[in-house]
């Protein structure tokens, strides 16, 4: 009798109830801590996003000013040659100055006022827009034309409320008289805010109001193309060999450990390797997407090998055995059956590896892709920049307008990353087979 009492007592005694309560408390505590961890991580992400979008979104709108300029042939093409090379060298600065002084004749006589007036407009933008207009419409030389040109970066920032206007005017980038002109232009409809196409279509520029990410996007694209062409076939082939053919021995174990370690090597190390091997030893061109892509390929290779091996492992042995059973060779069983079934996993791993490569800056700095390039690169050997490097360069420029443009470039980069990850998720959910 005594023994049965003891047995039930284990679960019913007050002591047992306390133990039980303690276990429940521990579980609740663990769940609570997990929840806190998630909330902290999410709020850090939300904070980051809020700060980037908070500063960056305003860069997607830009203020423009209207000018009415007389395209004086004497200044553009005095000999009336009609030659684009002559027209390219025309004196567009003077044309712009005349147009602006005509609009505000009261400022034209005073040197100080004149200088301030020119600062309302983007001088580099105005001359560039006029030049492009003439080169596109050589027949219009001699006419008076109306064009929208960007406002200067300081006026743009002032209208977006980024300056403290309460301080004395000599401490700000826009003076009281400039503000008065801006208000006058606004009232007459000659100053408007519109979508900032320049940010997407232009290449890098020293003037924030003319800077865009086009060259960097194309540079990143070329680099990623090289990365893909090099790392995907090599990575998949290496994984197939290691997974399907290689004998299991100490040597292959050693290789496996090393591949896993390689995936954890800091990217700057690959950059130094690229500098020493690709540039200094093989003499490949500096700042070229080709070399950038090769360095990023080294970095992506282990990710692809690991993902491919995992996907190959997930294909059931019965598929291989079935193929071998009807007389396929080992290579045929892999190429006709195993690889197609593993493909969604392989592609997912590859895209995630490529997305990582897209966001990488450090190795590109080492091989000179941190370059000011004003033309969209035509091939993988022409000098180029890359998106994350563009962010880095803009963040270190003094003018205030770079702050929002840096954030805008980050938003664009995040957009591409999200897109790539979305494709990876889609591929997985669409084509993944479960056994």
């Amino acid at each position: 009798m005594a023994s049965t009492e003891v047995k039930t007592g284990i679960h019913t005694s007050p002591e047992a109830a306390r133990r039980l309560a303690r276990r429940y408390r521990q579980e609740a505590f663990f769940q609570f801590m997990g929840l806190i961890a998630i909330v902290l991580a999410l709020s850090a992400l939300a904070w980051l996003m809020a700060s980037i979008f908070g500063t960056g979104l305003s860069a997607f709108r830009q203020h423009e000013v209207q000018i009415t300029a007389s395209l004086d042939p004497e200044l553009i093409d005095p000999e009336r040659t009609g030659d684009p090379e002559v027209m390219r060298r025309g004196d567009y600065r003077t044309i712009l100055q005349r147009a602006i002084y005509d609009r505000f004749p009261e400022a034209a006589d005073d040197r100080k006022l004149r200088l301030q007036l020119m600062e309302v407009y983007s001088v580099a933008g105005g001359t560039g827009f006029l030049r492009d207009f003439v080169l596109d419409n050589p027949g219009r030389v001699g006419d008076t034309v109306t064009l929208w040109i960007p406002a200067s970066d300081d006026v743009d920032q002032m209208l977006k409320g980024k300056f403290d206007l309460d301080v004395p005017q000599e401490l700000r980038k826009v003076t009281d008289v400039q503000i008065a002109w801006v208000r006058e232009l606004q009232a007459s409809g000659e100053l408007r805010a519109s979508f900032n196409k320049i940010l997407f279509l232009n290449t890098d520029s020293r003037d924030p109001e003319l800077a865009g990410v086009a060259a960097a996007v194309v540079g990143s694209f070329y680099a990623l193309l090289v990365t893909f062409v090099l790392s995907f076939p090599m990575g998949v082939a290496a994984a197939i060999y290691l997974e399907e053919f290689a004998p299991k021995n100490r040597f292959t174990d050693f290789i496996e450990v090393n591949i896993n370690n390689l995936a954890a090597v800091p990217s700057i190390v690959f950059g130094l390797l690229g500098l020493a091997v690709f540039l200094n030893f093989f003499g490949l061109p500096r700042s070229a997407p080709l070399v950038g892509g090769m360095v990023l390929a080294l970095m992506t290779l282990p990710t692809i090998i690991i993902a491919t091996r995992a996907s190959l492992k997930a294909v059931p042995p019965s598929i291989r055995e079935g193929a071998l059973g009807v007389g396929a060779s080992k290579l045929q069983s892999i190429y006709h059956h195993v690889l197609p079934l593993a493909m969604p996993g392989i592609l997912t791993g590859t895209i995630i590896g490529m997305a990582q490569a897209l966001g990488e800056t450090a190795p590109l700095l080492m091989i000179g892709m941190v370059a000011f390039v004003t033309q969209i690169p035509e091939s993988i050997t022409t000098p180029a920049s890359a998106l994350p490097v563009q962010v880095f360069l803009w963040s270190d420029s003094p003018e205030r307008a770079w702050e929002e443009r840096t954030s805008a470039a980050i938003i664009i980069l995040l957009g591409f990353l999200t897109l790539m990850n979305l494709v990876a998720v889609l591929l997985r959910s669409r084509f993944e087979r479960r056994w």
């Binding site: 401490l171 020293r206 003499g283 000011f372 270190d396």
Partner: protein
């Protein structure tokens, strides 16, 4: 099938990567301080001539290293520098066959000590700057011929001079890799140290020991290496009004509604005072041309002429509005002649 094509393509990509081909764009490397001016000129030059210019921001030291590595299209044509080329660098150049180098001085840059607008004004002398930021300073007033070094005891500005603000000394400045840091320790710290009698004696007795003592910044937390990014330092100052920051003049100029510069020896850091040389902490900016590339890579001389033209580096040109402090007229004319005649220099 697809995989086979990809493998073929990758082999092809590796094969056509032929070494060092002729190039039709000008390659420029070097200082991140000269980078904004160099890129502005590149942009204007390209618009006028259609010749491509690629500017890379590698830092002054990195630039000289690349520049002096050899002659040929694999090496850059021009390097920007926020300090004068060192003798050792010119010797490396000569050793690698870069024998004809043209030195061009483009203008000046001031280094400012700034704090938030809401903070009290700082009026410092060079010696006080030295006493605030040096790791070890001479005990007492440093009179006599022999310095007794003590770890810097000044924790508040008032420890240095009673009428300075009663706040902790806390400075955010550039790290040792930066050219701005080099210039700051050379001009401000050494300049300040020379004002102390015993340090002056040390300089004439043992200039190496003097340099080591004057150039070493505090490591007890009063000086904080804030990274190469000067905009980040400006934002830190706005958030931390008790702190001061050390950076290039153009960042003060662009953010004058948020921060203000300390006067040094009674001179405000302003455009005019730096141009005239009254403001003591200013440095010259340069670029160096590899003369052997002129005529091989098209446009090098024309780029240099554009840079030094009155319309660019001149007082009314497009560079001063973005922060370049122009050369005095006589010196500007001198360097306009240098780029016109491609006069090489030696040290």
């Amino acid at each position: 099938m697809k995989i086979k094509t990809l493998i073929l393509a990758s082999v092809a990509a590796a094969a056509f990567a032929a070494p060092a081909m002729a190039r039709d764009e000008i390659r420029i490397v070097g200082s991140s301080t000269v980078y904004p001016f160099s890129t502005k000129v590149a942009q204007e030059f390209e618009a006028k001539t259609g010749i491509k210019v690629v500017v890379e921001s590698t830092g002054s030291g990195g630039g000289h290293k690349l520049f002096c590595a050899g002659v040929g299209t694999a090496h850059p044509d021009i390097t920007n520098s926020s300090r004068r080329q060192k003798k050792s660098e010119l010797e490396t150049c000569a050793k690698n066959g870069v024998t004809d180098v043209v030195e061009v001085k483009v203008g000046f840059d001031g280094i400012v000590i700034a704090n938030a607008r809401s903070a009290p004004d700082l009026e410092l002398s060079l010696e006080e700057v030295y006493r605030a930021f040096a790791q070890d300073i001479p005990a007492g007033d440093g009179s006599g011929d022999k310095c007794q070094f003590v770890p810097n005891p000044n924790t508040k500005w008032t420890d240095i001079r009673a009428d300075l603000p009663d706040v902790k000394i806390e400075a955010y400045g550039p790290p040792p890799t930066s050219g701005t840091r080099d210039a700051f320790v050379e001009i401000a710290m050494e300049g300040g140290a020379e004002k102390v009698p015993c340090m002056k004696a040390l300089k004439s007795a043992d200039s190496k020991a003097f340099e080591a003592a004057a150039r070493t910044l505090r490591e007890d937390g009063a000086w904080i290496d804030a990274g190469e990014n000067d905009s980040a330092i400006v934002q830190t100052l706005v958030r931390t009004p008790s702190a001061v920051g050390v950076f290039g003049f153009s960042f003060l100029d662009q953010n004058a509604d948020k921060i203000k510069g300390a006067t040094i020896d009674g001179v405000d850091p302003e455009f005019e005072s730096i141009a005239s040389g009254d403001y003591p902490v200013s440095r010259s900016l340069y670029f160096y041309i590899k003369k052997q590339h002129v005529g091989v890579v098209p446009g090098i001389q024309e780029y240099a002429v554009e840079f030094m033209s009155d319309g660019a580096a001149g007082p009314d040109g497009y560079l001063p509005p973005i922060g370049l402090i122009p050369l005095p007229p006589a010196e500007l004319e001198q360097y306009q002649d240098v780029v016109k005649n491609m006069t090489t220099y030696s040290q």
